[in-house]
């Protein structure tokens, strides 16, 4: 999984029906010191992540679909599966 920061959300009424009821959040991947690292992406939320929070994002379809809709087989390739409270690292960054 990757660490990312929630930086926005997307509203779309006309969309794949499996997205129904889901929150489409924009996340910016970050490194361990919190710097942006790589392009942003959209992820369906499954843990009520809030704006600005640091989250754990899974980028694999089966996991993303089951985590965010309860069932596999949806056109979902990324989902937020955790909100980060803190990170402890045993080496100098």
């Amino acid at each position: 999984m990757i660490l990312a920061r929630v930086v926005g959300n997307v509203v779309a009424t006309h969309k794949n029906d499996r997205y129904e009821g889901g929150r489409l959040l924009i996340v910016q991947p970050i490194d361990l010191s919190g710097q942006d690292e790589g392009g942003e992406l959209l992820a369906l939320d499954s843990v009520d992540a809030g704006a600005g929070e640091t989250v754990v994002v899974v980028r694999e379809g089966w996991s993303a679909s089951t985590a965010s809709t309860g069932k596999a087989g949806a056109a979902i390739d990324a989902a937020i599966i955790g909100v980060v409270d803190s990170i402890k690292i045993d080496r100098e960054l």
Partner: protein, 88 residues
């Protein structure tokens, strides 16, 4: 998934049978400020997206799921049309 703008259409008459009757669109991936973010791609439409629209697209094996039970060959499918992007 990612944001993109539909910037064109690909017309292809000689193609995989499962692509018959489906629209191939050219998309430019975008960031949340709607700035270009990455290379243009050919995407299969699954929601009736039109040129100029801001869309949501999904990549990889999952992008064929909107067409089940057909096993449509695609690694990039448009799965939503964006009404609004909110950034913080």
């Amino acid at each position: 998934m990612q944001l993109a703008r539909v910037i064109g259409t690909v017309v292809s008459t000689v193609k995989n049978d499962l692509l018959r009757g489906r629209k191939l669109l050219v998309i430019q991936p975008l960031d949340r400020f709607l700035k270009d973010a990455g290379k243009t791609l050919v995407a299969l439409d699954s929601v009736g997206a039109g040129e100029g629209e801001i869309v949501i697209w999904c990549r990889g094996k999952e992008s064929s799921f909107p067409f089940t039970p057909d096993e449509v060959p695609t690694d990039c499918t448009i799965t939503g049309i964006v009404d609004r992007v909110n950034t913080i």
